[in-house]
């Protein structure tokens, strides 16, 4: 009843722990969101992330709605305080810190698409590396905060 890798039909490679919902079989809410993702992001296919989330359509909607509001504010008429490059830099910093393979790849791709060269990418990751180091030091010494932001 378990599924050892040996016994798996490996002709179709696995892309996740569940089978993604193919674009051609999507209907109703899933089909609408797939179309919105492609239109909003200007891409020709629906990435694995969204096709996996579609296995629970309510969840797909919750994640897409929130990501669209924050990462594509112009598409929902929300004035944004950060530009697209800064937003993707945050995404990469978080993903590198968490070590998320899918996310590091897709946010690096987004930054390159926005025109970032590899030297600048190196500077982003250098700073990510630096603060993962100082975070471990501050926590490893249990240092009390003494540089505090103003409250007004």
């Amino acid at each position: 009843m378990y599924y050892p890798i040996q016994g798996t039909n490996m002709t179709t490679p696995r892309v996740a722990t569940v089978a993604p919902v193919p674009e051609e079989s999507a209907t109703g809410k899933v089909a609408e969101i797939y179309a919105d993702i492609k239109r909003t992001k200007g891409i020709a296919f629906v990435p694995n992330m969204w096709r996996v989330l579609a296995t629970n359509p309510d969840h797909l909607e919750l994640v897409w709605t929130r990501l669209k509001a924050l990462m594509h504010p112009e598409a929902v008429g929300r004035p944004a305080r950060l530009d697209p490059r800064t937003r993707e830099i945050i995404a990469l910093a978080v993903s590198a810190t968490n070590g998320c393979a899918y996310c590091v790849n897709s946010h690096t791709a987004a930054l390159r698409k926005l025109g970032m060269d590899v030297e600048t990418l190196g500077e982003v990751l250098a700073i990510v590396g630096l603060f993962n180091s100082t975070n471990a030091l501050a926590d490893g010494y249990q240092i009390e905060p003494d540089v505090l932001p103003p409250l007004e």
Copy 2:
């Protein structure tokens, strides 16, 4: 031989697991780095972080040299590809993801000093929160990367 909290002299509150090196007793390399930190950052006191690192002067030097090169590039004559605000945004994104109290406070303070208002701070953290969520989803489903950056 253990040091339960009850038995501790609490008139001087603890700021770390080691006693920081006070500014007035710093000599040699430590005194020079303390002076450089205050001059480079334009601050009037040496924060706990550096006074704790000073318990191992070589380590203080390694951390300060690297942080100065990356976060104060003008002070070492290095052309920077990212502006100070973006650098501090990365620092906050990493620190929030790691849950480092000292670091969240000091980098939020730095962003406020650079002029960031609380609404924009909220947008930074909203995006940090969003990608901590999608990172857990991509990893929780073990989704294979399919949006990859170009290699040239």
Copy 3:
């Protein structure tokens, strides 16, 4: 311009890196969400978490909308597949793994309110502890997955 702890007026203790929006000064969207939080959760005050998020009203709305949909599905007419106790157990497992003080406290409080006794809480955390251990072992040995879920 920095705000060392010594120089801070400590008569009002800090509750966050920003000043929370008090209930009595909330207006418009924030006031509506505050009322919805109290009504939906059946509580008499607005916890710090929400009063801090309210410093960016759009962000408050995004987080509350999502949390309400997932944790209070009956309030939005969504049929839930998990019961409230299981949902809070997940919240505690994630929060303990991340070491989030605010979240561990509030989700433990929620579980106790739902009737969980300390022995059962101990079993939840024992299992959280066990898998934080085996996760480190599987990653520490870089073990290839061989027990895989079915894809149909």
Copy 4:
């Protein structure tokens, strides 16, 4: 003396940083534990995790004893306060938060074997994602706990 991937004999694919102990060559304590794992879990083979741990038999015993006590309480005559499905949900929540590939696969497999459908799996991970997000927000704003569990 180093072992670059180019120089490795790749006809036997690597499953870990050490060579697992095959079932057919297991003797003594390791053979007994292998038999107990298969009997207790009702499976026909010993997964990689246990075959890797067997490279240090004392360690194999410590991990198996603890996991058996917590995840198979009926096998040791311990009354459990949580049911098997809740226990595996905790395991998945922790593993997704830590991003452990081996563990996410095996605990998703266990949940599917216990009858969980993909929609419910989606709800579990949606809640895992939600609280990874709010954890980052609570830590990113350094919010003081104000919803505390009772102590009696």
Copy 5:
């Protein structure tokens, strides 16, 4: 029914999300383990960690049994391959990386008790900081492993 901090009787400060089991009221298995902890560790009181775990006696036993076997091997007649100082260094490295306040304090205390001076402690944490940095870089660039351990 919630327990806001304002409404709490703060004359007895909280030490955890549950009330620890006092030494004087411990009976049966808990009393035996408390005695064993004090005897094995050569300390005069039972630290909070164990008094909190005692709220679920089975869990207390599981954690103590495992920690005793690994950290006090001489007490169980197990030959150890690592010395006490190296074991505590590992404990600190893990705790600093996870940012666990209780653990960083107690393992730093243990290292100091074993004779480590603050300069050496600084070298331990410098290396912890270094590899938290390079981990973020290797993950942030998604670098394929090419330096692999031998399998025989």
Copy 6:
């Protein structure tokens, strides 16, 4: 403009999100550091880690300088307080806790090269697993530190 895995020329397998700088095309500072890495570490090729960092030469220099000072102190004439085996044990403990595939492989390789057998490696990881577990427990119960190191 996106780069789905299907469309990628897979004859040259990807080793990172950027193309590493080959040894044969390295010039100037990069070539010097490549030579120093091979000489200092006594290896015949430049591992992926360094060839990827070389896409931003300043960053390569910062990371190598720091790693050399801490992990190869004899090469810079710095007296070290920890021996090479202890330093690599710390590196593995951090890397296993963070789940970094590249780092776990390379530090396990380094420990094996230093003569560590798999039983001892198992003891290292057993202790790493133990404290990832107790860290989650201490944080999951929010236990106040009561075993504190001395400050003098």
